[in-house]
Each structure stands twice: as C-alpha cells, then as structure tokens.
C-alpha cells in the first residue's frame, strides 16, 4: 500500500466544497425558516443568526474526509472501469457507474 505516494485530494479544496454546501444548506434553511415562522421577529432574528453561523471543520477531520473521498472515488472508478472493460469499452460511462453504484454505496 503506497498510500503515502498516492495523490490525495487537497484538504483545502474539500474544505471549500464543504463550506459551500453548508452555506447553501444554511441559506435554504434560513429562507424556509423565515417563511414558516410567523412568530415574533425577535425569535426569527435569533433563529436566523443561529442558522447563519457557518459550520467549520477541524483540520484532521478534513484530512480524513479527503482520504475517504479519495478512496471512494478510486473505488468507484476502478469498479466502473472493470465493468467498462468487460464490455470492451475504453471509456467509463454513466451506465457503468450506475451498475456498481448500489453496491458501492452500501460498501461505504
């Protein structure tokens, strides 16, 4: 296992993606929250401020997440590649991924 030499995902990139997703989720939540709460504005204010709080990630967790994602991606690619090769193709297509996807998702 030459994991040390294998290229890994940049934790910063993963962190940025995470933050992007979190921000979007928080915004959606906040938007839904305002429309659903007819309560006092003070309450809404408190809620919004809470939801606006950005989620943060610890550096080690980010590293771990990156590795997990890397393994997941390589596994998916390799499995899809075997399917593609079995079909004699040289290009992994969406259908190849679909075939291995259920089991892949269950394996992780």
């Amino acid at each position: 296992m030459d994991d040390n030499n294998t290229p890994s995902l940049d934790p910063d990139l993963i962190g940025a993606i995470f933050k992007h997703i979190w921000a979007r989720k928080a915004h959606e939540r906040e938007r839904n929250g305002i429309q659903s709460t007819d309560a006092l504005d003070s309450e809404v204010g408190a809620g919004t401020s809470k939801k606006y709080r950005p989620t943060s990630t610890n550096a080690d967790a980010l590293k771990l997440s990156s590795e997990l994602l890397r393994i997941f991606i390589t596994e998916a690619v390799q499995r899809a590649a075997t399917i593609a090769e079995a079909e004699g193709g040289t290009e992994i297509e969406a259908t190849h991924v679909e075939r291995i996807l259920p089991q892949l998702l269950l394996d992780f």
Partner: protein
C-alpha cells in the same frame, strides 16, 4: 444599493465604476476600492474615516453629493468630512440634498455654513419640474376626541400640575398662566433659562424647590402628552415607573390626585377599553383594506413612542387575517421591549416587500434612510412631531402612485401642536423662496471648469445596460455566483459540468440505483474496498427477488456453505479439519460402505457384465502384462468415449472387472510370493462371492434403480439413507424431511445384506448413498430431488438419477448399471488384490461419484465409463491412473460448473491422487506393471485429458517414470515437496512412514515416490483441469449445473458417510472387521489387508474428499497420506502376504490412527478402532502420533499375531 441602481438607470454610470462601501468593508479593501473605482457610495462615517486616514484619495475627488443634508449639524460626519476636504487644496463641488432642510431659519443657515453651500435651490410639489414626478398625496387629519377615561385622568393630572405651575408662575419662571397648554418643551426651556439666569430676587434656598417643581412638571406633562397622543397605557406605564423611584416618587407618593389618576388609569386599563385613537386607526385600516387588496397594499403606521407600538400591535391582532402586521423598531433594547437587530430589520423589510407582512408599525426609524418600499397608506399615530419628520413620514407614500396619509390627532394640545408645526414649516418655506437669497448667507465657490471651455447643452442617447443587482441583499437572491474557475474551462468542459451539475436544468443527469437490478444479484468486482455485509444482503435479496439460483456463481458458494454447515464441515479450515477428521473416521467406516455400495452396484452390473468380465478377465489374465492391460483399458476408454455413453460405460465396466481380475492376478504373479496364488485364488473366490452376493445386491440395487427411475422410489431410497444417517446421529440432513420415512427402507436394505459381507457393504452403500443424498439435498437443494434420491440410493443411482433428469430413464438405468459395474470392478479388485483392489475400490468409488457427476452431465457419461474402464485397467496402477483420468474426465465434463465443478474436480483430483496412490501400490506389487501402467495411464490420460489434461498426464507419466527411477534422495525430495504441500508436520510424518515402508522395499519406495509425485501431479493437474474447464463451465447449461450439483452431492455423500461412520463407527468397524474376518476366513489375508487398506483408503479418500470440498490444502496432504497409506498397505500386503492379515490391518490402523491424529478428530475414530481392534488399536494409537511410534505398534501387532515381523522391522 438603490442609489447605485438609480444612478445606473438614469445617467448610465457604468456599474464597474461604482462601489458602495460601508463600515462593514475592511479598510484595506476600501483602500483598494478607492483606487480602482470612480463613483463611490459611502456612508458619511466611512468617508470621514477614510479621509482622515488618507486611504481616500481626496485630492482626486471632484464632486461630493450629500444626501439627507439636514443632518449636517454639529460634528456629524458630513461636517467633518467637508471640513477636511475644504482644508485641502482641492477643487470640488458639494451637492447637498434634503427634503427637510430644517424647521427654522438658523438651522438651515447652519447647514449651509457647514457644507459651504453657495446656492440654494428650493422646489416644492407644485413646482413645474417636480410636479410630473409627484403623485397626488391625500393628507387627512382626523381629530380624535380624548376618551372619557383619558379625559378624566387628564383632569386629575391637571389638578396635580396646577399648584406647581402656580408656584413657578409666582416666582416668575413661567409666563404662561394657562397650565393646560404648557408642554414639556416649554418647561425645559424655562428650566434652562432658570439655570442660566436664576431670578435675583429668589433666595438661593428656594432653588432646589424650583428645580424639583420643574422636574415634576416635566414628568407630568410628559405623561399627559403620552396620555393624549398614545393612550392610557403608555401614560400609566410611565407613571408607574416614575413612582417607583427617584425624586418624582418622593414628591408625588403622598399626592392624592396622582394616586387617584393612577387608580383611574388602572381601572380603565383593566376594562380593556381601547383608546379612541386606536379604534379610529383600526377603522381607517379596515376601510383601507376593503378598498385595496390586502395582498398588494402596504401600510405603515408611525408612532413616536415604542410603548404605543406594542399597543398598536395588540390592537391589530384583533382584526384578524386581513392585517399581517409586524413591528419595526430600533436596535436599542429598553426595559419593556427588546430592540431589533439590523438583521431582523432587514428580514422584516424583506418580508414586507415580499408580502409576508402588509402592515408595519414603525417608530421614527422607519421615517427615513431605510429602503422601505412604497406604501399606499401612512398613518401617523401621533401628530405632534416636528414638520421635518412629518414630511419624511409622508415621503413614504405617493412616490410612484397615489398615496394617502392619515394623521391622527387628539383634540387639544396635540392638535394644537400639529397645527403650530405645520404653520412653522410653511414659514420656513417662505425663507426658501428665491433660493433663500434674502434669508441666508452663502459661501462663494470658484468655477471649476476652465474658462476656455464653454459647456453646451447636448442631447445624448444613453444606452444603459441592464442593471445587475449586486451587493449583500442581492447576493442572497443569487447565492450561486459564477465561480471564477468557469472562465478557465473550455466549452466542452463547461458543457460536461452543466450536464451533471447544473442544478436547475431539468435534464440534469442523476445516477439511478435501480437501473440495473440484474447486476445487483451478483457481487461486483471490487478494487480495494471489499463488499460489506449490507452489500451481501442486497445481493442475497436481489437473488431471492429475482428468483435466481445461481449454481455457477453465488449459488455454488451458498451451496457449499450450506453443505459445509450441514455436514458439520466448518467453514473455517480448522473446523473443517476437525469435522473432516471425524468425517474421515466415519469415512473409514464409510469407505467400507462405499466399497459395499460399489459391490452392490457391481452386483447390478455383473448381471450384464459378469459374463463379459469373465471373458475379459480371461484375456486380461492371459495378457497379465500391465502394459497390455493399460493399453486395453486405454483403448477401451477411448472407445467408450467415442461410443455411446451407456454402451461404452458397460463395456468399460466389464473391462474393469477383467482388468481387476488381471490386475489381481498380475500383482500376485509379480509378487511371486505365496500370496500370488493365494491372492489370485482369494481374489477369484471373493470375486465369485462378490458376484454371487452381487446378484442379490444387484436385484436390490436394480429395484432401487427402478425406484430411482421413478422419482418417488429414489426418494424413498434417499429417505431411507437419510434415515440411516439420522440413526447414525449425523442428522445433518435437516434439509430432507423425508429421510425419516426412508430410513426404514434403508434398514431393510441393511437387513438384507447382513447375510453376507457384501450385504453389509450394500447396506453401507445404501447408507452412504442416503448420506450423500442428504448432503446433496442440503447442498444442492435447488437441484431436482430426483438427483438427490439417485445419489442417496447409490452413487450409481445418483448418476442414473442425474441422467434420468437429463436423459430418459433408460440412460439412468444404464448409468446405474455403469456405476454398478465400476463398483463391481472395484469389488473385484478388492477381492482379487487387497492392496490394489482396495485402492482401486476406493478409486472406483470415487470414480463412480465422479461418474455420477459426469452422468449428470449426460455428455460426460462416456468419460465416466472411461474412468471406470480405467479403474479396471488399473488393476492396480492403471486403475488408479484410470480413476484419476476418470475423475479428470468427469471433472472435465462437470467442469462446466465453475465452483461446483472445481470442487468436483478437486474430489476427482483426490480420487486421482488416490488412484495414483493405488497405482503406486499396484506398481509396488508389480514394478514392471507399475511402469507400464503408468505409461498406459498417461496415454489414457492424455487421451482423456483433451489437450490440457494431456500435459498434466505427461507430467504425471514423467513423474511416474521418475518415481520408478526414484531413489531415496528423490523420495526425500518428494517428501519435501509433500511437506511443502502439506502444512502439517503430521502429514510429513505419514509420508515418512510410507517412505520407511518404501525403504524396506525399493519397489515400495518407488511406489511411494510415484504416489507422492502422482498425488502432487494429480493435484496440480486437477487444478489445471479445473482452470481449463472453467471456460467450459461458462458455457455450461442447466445440465452442467445439475452435474455440478451432483458432484457436490457426491462430495456431500462422502462427507456424510464419514459422519455416519462416526456415529456408527462401531457398527461399521465391526462390519468392516467382520468383512475382513470373513475375507480372512476365506483364506484371503490379502483381502483382509486390502479391506483394511480399503478402509484406510476410504477414510483417506473421504478425508481427501472432505478436504477437497473444503478446498483446503490439508486435503492434499490427506490424499498424499492416503496414497502413502495405501502404498504402505499394498506393500505390506504384497510383501507381508505371508504375514497375517492382522498385521496389515494393524498397519492400516496405525496409518489410520496417524491420519486421525493428523486430522484432529481422530479421537472418535480411535475409539471406534479401539473398539473394533481393541488391543491392537490401542497399541497402534501411540505410534500413530509419530512414525516412529507406528513401528512399535506394528511390532506389537506382529507379536500379537505371531506373524513374521519383517515388515514391522523394516518399518
């Protein structure tokens, strides 16, 4: 910001030139903006700070526009910034805008001074350049009478106020005698005046008193103002608060009027009577929303006092859904009400804009500055505010379309105050007329445009691009900004991204988890991450849902697992070893049973074949040369292959018998010892006996076969066998419920055979068969029960059943016959040459099993017959080779089934190994024969091998040759190889034992070597074959699967017999012993030895089988051991023909014991053996542990038997 948008849309200032900056932008960013942008929209504070810090490039500023210029008072940022700019040598224009410059002339003058204004332009609504943009704004003043309660409270308060005002008036500090018209502002002004210039005639002591009077009066008037303009509640709360502490409470606590007023207010509050202003306001609101759509119409209610905002909110809550109101207040948090943070304010405005609210109740915060959308109605809850604020309030409506302003004024002081302030603002307007040239002093400002330029008016068409909203608020609406990396992507790449990641487009591709259900029934190939249990569950369930039984793939695994579990063959190798050891012990018994079964089968065959066999035997005997035999066999096999299955099979069986006879004869002749004649005789006699016995057996078997042909009958047989198994205690058969019923039949069968040893064998065979069937059932449950039944009845039956399934009943019968014939051959071999026979029998049994598999695959049947023929050919060696070949062929045939076939193959390999061992033994008996037989076997193998097998066969032949030439060194090498192959030292020990035996006789050594090599070769070739066959397996059809199942069943059956033997070891042993005894009594010492060997070999075979099934390496070891044992036995028998059978038996037992020990589960076997052999076994057990130990038992045995101990000594 709206100003940017306005500038863009009106005069086309490019967006990239503009920037809005507030204090929220960091100074460093602001500095960069100051350098890169051209038009700045900044807060005055930012401007002030940046000018002071120098980040604003002030000398490049050309124009400063000041909005809401009326704030430029005192030290406000506007003033500071402008002062800073003016202090610099900068030429710039200042444009100040305001809707409410001020309520008094001095205030306006101050603004002009602060901002260095040189010209004043005044426009009102009626001016021609303003009127087009101003919509009609209806201002309505509603006088609201003070409520009854409020009026009463007001009177009480006036009562309280009057003496203080009178006192102050007496002192001369208040000029106005009418205390009703006094306002807090008046009092404040008076107090200021008093503080600056106290009246000289007033004694200094009185100052405190006057001060206190002022304070009280201010508070009271304030309360009164609240009362009139906002209602009782705010006034009451104010009073309550003031009475709680401070100087006011000290003075007023004892005042009766104030307490009365308070009580009055309390009472009216408890009544809940709304103030007239509130009710009037609600009236106006309802009227408004009746004429306008509540969804689209917006209303702002201004109140100067936060406490009244809550009152208004409460009142609005009472009019239902029509009004969705919210409050809009400042940030500061008071005692009663919490302020709203800026975010909440933004959210409120956002919702107000979106329609979430249609009424805002605002304090003065809503009057100016904030971007509140246009409203239709403005209600001023209190009228007595400065005209500035009133104008701002009115500015909230009438911008884009008509609006309405309602001013609620309470009769009395509030109304008067409102009127006065309106008049005030009108007077200011007069000042503004004519640019205020008469009223204000202006500051000169030089012309900035050089005089050489004469500006002219031009009409320019502005093409203004669509304004792209930006900024914080707008960002919320467009959270997904175009990421910068987009610009770096090629068109194809961005198309790809859009295909999979464009969240809005409908055509977004989403991976489907249900698109390929068929693929989910098989485990997908993995790279590094293994499948999880959840995936396996998914696969299982998918297979179940799809109703698929995958015999080739997963199905096989499952079957195997089931078999292993059912058979007590632990999945774990160790467990398997244990179970296998037990099984082996059982197998020892079972082998006998198998042999018996084979005999029974043979008995059936004899019916047809005996005659032929005899004929063949004659020629075979005449030939006597092993080579010829081998050739004959080979040819026979070939012919069989080429010929029809059934016929061929029968023929080979005959050949086998003949071969067996010839073999027996040949070994005996080779030995040249006394045994030769005796052996031959014995063989003959046993053969005859066997045949005779076989007849009844055959009848039974035939009946069974017929039954097999009919599904129910075979089932019965199977059930019988199962029952027997149950009785044995194995009871692994949970899968076969019918077994119990069948058991009686088996018992019956047993009862029949008891008469003769053969009968016993038959019984055992039947037992084995049921076990097999059970195993098969367990493992191959999905397969047809018929096959199971056939397996149960006999291996032959199984074969027949399988063929029946695939082919007509005739084929099945033929198969049965075939199977029987091989069995017969085995029997004959057994009878003739105990060594070779035993081995051959074992092989034959194995072969039948293998045959069964091939039979199951109809096409394979020929191969099986060939194998059978091979077995006969092998007499000794040839038979083994043929067996192995048969196995191979059968395997080949079955190879189609991948995993199952592999297992079968393995079994076949085992069988081959065994056969090879037997061959070796045979060769030991007759060295020349061995070599020839090997050669013969090799060609046969090659023939059967079909390409792939051929090389292996060649290898084997080479090995055989080597074995012949083999020296001790070679043996050692072989041993090493064996060791390598065999994981356990015990195996090595076993080998050593055989080697020791071989040492005694070179032939024996050679045999051992050959056996080892063969076993090794056979194993390897087996694998090779399996691999080679695998492709065939891919193409395998359902038939193939069936054969695979059958093979699995066969294996299972083998295992089952072991179990049975364990359970009924005593019986089997006793039976076998009896058989041996009988044979011995028949003057067949070799036969007894052979039996023992057979038993051993059977055990070994079983073990091997089990191991093979398990596919564990130990199996190979077992095979080797078996071969060793068989060789030893053969050697011993051949050499020790003189020696008593007992010795051989003991040797066998020793070997068995060794094997058992090696196999772990020897305890049961040992016990059984001990029971059977009693002292001998006990003696042998210790030696079993080690090779060296074996020797002593042999000696002991020899001593006991009194027979020559040559072999023992040699050992």
């Amino acid at each position: 910001m709206q100003q940017i948008e306005a500038c863009h849309n009106i005069v086309g200032i490019p967006q990239e030139w503009t920037i809005d900056m507030t204090g929220q932008i960091s100074p460093t960013r602001r500095a960069s903006f100051w350098k890169t942008k051209r038009v700045f929209f900044v807060t005055p504070q930012v401007l002030e700070k940046d000018i002071q810090s120098g980040t604003c490039l002030a000398k490049y500023l050309v124009c400063l526009v000041i909005d809401e210029a009326h704030r430029a008072l005192g030290n406000y940022s506007y003033c500071v910034a402008v002062r800073e700019l003016m202090a610099m040598p900068v030429h710039l224009r200042v444009l100040a805008l305001t809707a409410t410059p001020g309520s008094k002339q001095p205030a306006i003058q101050k603004i002009i001074d602060n901002l260095y204004i040189s010209t004043l332009e005044y426009r009102n609504e009626s001016d021609p350049d303003v009127s087009p943009y101003v919509h009609n704004r209806k201002i309505e003043l509603i006088e609201v009478p003070l409520g009854q309660d409020a009026a009463e409270v007001n009177n009480r308060l006036l009562e309280v106020i009057r003496p203080y005002v009178a006192r102050l008036h007496a002192v001369g500090l208040i000029q106005n005698r009418d205390y009703q018209t006094l306002s807090p502002v008046d009092l404040l002004n008076s107090r200021d005046k008093f503080r600056q210039a106290p009246p000289p005639d007033l004694p200094h002591v009185k100052h405190g008193e006057v001060e206190a009077s002022f304070a009280v009066l201010i508070t009271l008037y304030h309360i009164r103002k609240l009362l009139s303009s906002h209602g009782i509640r705010p006034a009451y709360e104010m009073l309550e608060e003031k009475l709680r502490q401070g100087p006011f409470s000290r003075l007023m606590r004892k005042n009766e009027d104030i307490m009365n007023a308070k009580l009055l207010m309390q009472r009216s509050l408890s009544h809940g009577a709304p103030s007239p202003k509130l009710s009037k306001m609600l009236e106006v609101l309802v009227d408004h929303f009746q004429t306008k759509d509540p969804q689209n119409s917006r209303v702002i209610i201004f109140s100067n006092f936060r406490g009244s905002v809550r009152d208004i909110m409460n009142a609005l809550a009472s009019i239902g859904d029509l009004v969705k109101a919210t409050e809009f207040i400042g940030q500061s948090s008071g005692k009663a009400l919490k302020g709203q943070s800026q975010k909440v304010q933004q959210a409120v405005l956002e919702k107000f804009r979106a329609g979430g609210y249609n009424v805002i109740v605002a304090t003065s915060i809503g009057e100016e500055g904030l971007d509140i959308m246009e409203v239709d109605l403005v209600i001023c809850f209190d009228a007595n505010v400065s005209p500035l604020r009133m104008i701002q309030r009115m500015g909230r409506t009438g911008r884009k379309h008509e609006g309405q302003v309602v001013v609620l004024a309470c009769q009395g002081s509030e109304l008067k105050g409102y009127m006065r302030k309106q008049a005030n603002s009108r007077s200011i307007n007069k000042h503004m007329q004519n640019g205020g040239m008469n009223s204000f002093n202006f500051h000169s400002s030089p012309r900035m445009v050089p005089h050489i330029f004469k500006p002219e008016v031009q009409f320019v068409e502005l093409s203004i691009e669509q304004f792209v909203p930006r900024g914080k608020k707008l960002k919320e609406d467009h959270t997904v900004e175009t990421p910068p990396f987009r610009e770096k992507l090629s068109v194809a790449e961005s198309d790809l991204i859009a295909k999979y990641f464009h969240s809005t487009s409908e055509s977004t591709w989403r991976p489907s988890l249900i698109a390929f259900p068929n693929f989910q029934a098989f485990p997908s190939k993995v790279y590094k991450v293994m499948h999880s249990c959840r995936t396996e569950m998914l696969i299982d369930s998918m297979q179940y849902l799809q109703g698929l039984t995958f015999p080739g793939g997963n199905g096989n695994f499952f079957v195997e697992a089931e078999v292993s579990s059912g058979d007590c063959f632990g999945v774990g190798i160790v467990e398997q070893h244990d179970s296998s050891s037990k099984d082996l012990l059982v197998l020892d018994n079972s082998p006998v049973a198998n042999a018996q079964l084979g005999v029974t089968d043979s008995a059936e065959l004899p019916m047809r074949t005996i005659r032929t066999k005899e004929k063949y035997d004659e020629p075979n005997s005449g030939c006597k040369s092993p080579q010829e035999h081998s050739y004959l066999f080979g040819s026979d096999f070939v012919s069989v292959d080429a010929l029809g299955k059934v016929l061929i099979i029968s023929v080979p069986s005959l050949y086998f018998e003949d071969v067996m006879h010839s073999k027996h004869v040949s070994p005996s002749t080779k030995e040249l010892q006394n045994c030769l004649n005796q052996e031959t005789y014995h063989v003959k006699t046993p053969d005859g006996i066997m045949q005779t016995e076989a007849v009844p057996n055959v009848t039974t078997s035939q009946t069974k076969s017929t039954k097999d042909d009919t599904l129910p009958t075979p089932r019965f047989c199977e059930t019988d066998s199962e029952k027997e198994k149950m009785l044995d205690g194995v009871e692994k058969i949970p899968g076969t419920p019918g077994g119990t019923c069948e058991t009686p039949d088996i018992e019956e069968i047993k009862a029949l055979p008891p008469l003769a040893d053969e009968h016993c064998r038959d019984l055992q065979d039947t037992e084995l068969s049921p076990r097999l069937t059970n195993l098969i059932k367990i493992g191959v449950v999905p397969e047809s029960p018929i096959t199971d039944s056939g397996i149960l009845k006999h291996k032959i039956r199984n074969e027949s059943l399988i063929p029946d399934l695939a082919s007509p009943a005739k084929l099945g019968t033929e198969l049965l016959l075939r199977s029987s014939s091989p069995v017969e051959n085995e029997r004959g071999i057994m009878d003739n040459s105990p060594y070779g026979r035993n081995v051959s029998v074992m092989k034959d049994e194995m072969t039948p099993l293998v045959k069964m598999n091939p039979v199951s695959s109809t096409k394979h049947s020929p191969s099986s017959p060939l194998a059978e023929t091979k077995t006969p050919l092998a007499h000794l060696t040839n038979s083994s080779g043929s067996k192995s070949w048969r196995l191979n062929s059968g395997e080949v045939a079955t190879v189609e089934h991948v995993q199952k076939f592999k297992r079968l193959r393995k079994v076949g390999n085992c069988g081959k190994a065994r056969s090879s061992k037997s061959m070796k033994e045979n060769s030991i008996v007759s060295v020349a024969n061995l070599a020839k037989s090997f050669s013969g076997a090799s060609p046969i193998r090659t023939k059967h091998g079909r390409g792939k097998k051929k090389p292996e066969n060649d290898v084997r032949t080479f090995i055989d040759e080597e074995a012949e030439v083999s020296t001790e060194a070679e043996i050692s090498a072989e041993e090493e190889d064996d060791d390598n192959e065999s994981y356990d030292d015990s195996f090595i020990d076993d080998r050593i034992n055989p080697t020791a035996g071989s040492n005694q006789t070179e032939c024996g050594r050679v045999d051992m070597m050959a056996i080892y090599r063969r076993s090794l070769l056979s194993q390897s070739p087996m694998v090779m074959q399996s691999t080679s066959f695998s492709p065939d397996c891919v193409a395998s059809t359902s038939k193939d699967n069936g054969s695979g199942c059958s093979s699995g069943k066969m294996f299972n059956s083998l295992q089952v017999p072991q179990l049975e033997s364990i359970n009924q070891p005593a019986r089997k042993y006793t039976e076998s012993f009896q058989m041996e005894e009988r044979i011995s009594s028949e003057s067949m010492p070799f036969g007894t030895n052979d039996f023992a060997i057979e038993n051993k070999s059977m055990q070994s075979r079983k073990r091997k089988l089990s191991f093979f099934q398990l596919e564990t390496i130990p199996a190979i070891n077992l095979d080797q051991e078996f071969s060793l044992e068989s060789e030893v036995g053969g050697k011993e028998s051949s050499k020790a023909s003189q020696q008593p059978q007992v010795d051989k038996i003991t040797v066998n037992e020793n070997e068995f014991d060794d094997d058992d020990d090696q196999f772990y589960a020897s305890l049961d076997l040992d016990a059984v053996e001990a029971q059977a052999t009693l002292l001998l076994k006990h003696q042998s057990e210790p030696p079993i542990e080690k090779q060296e130990k074996i020797v002593p038992p042999n000696l002991q045995n020899g001593g006991l038997q009194g027979s020559p101990s040559f072999d023992l000594g040699i050992w």
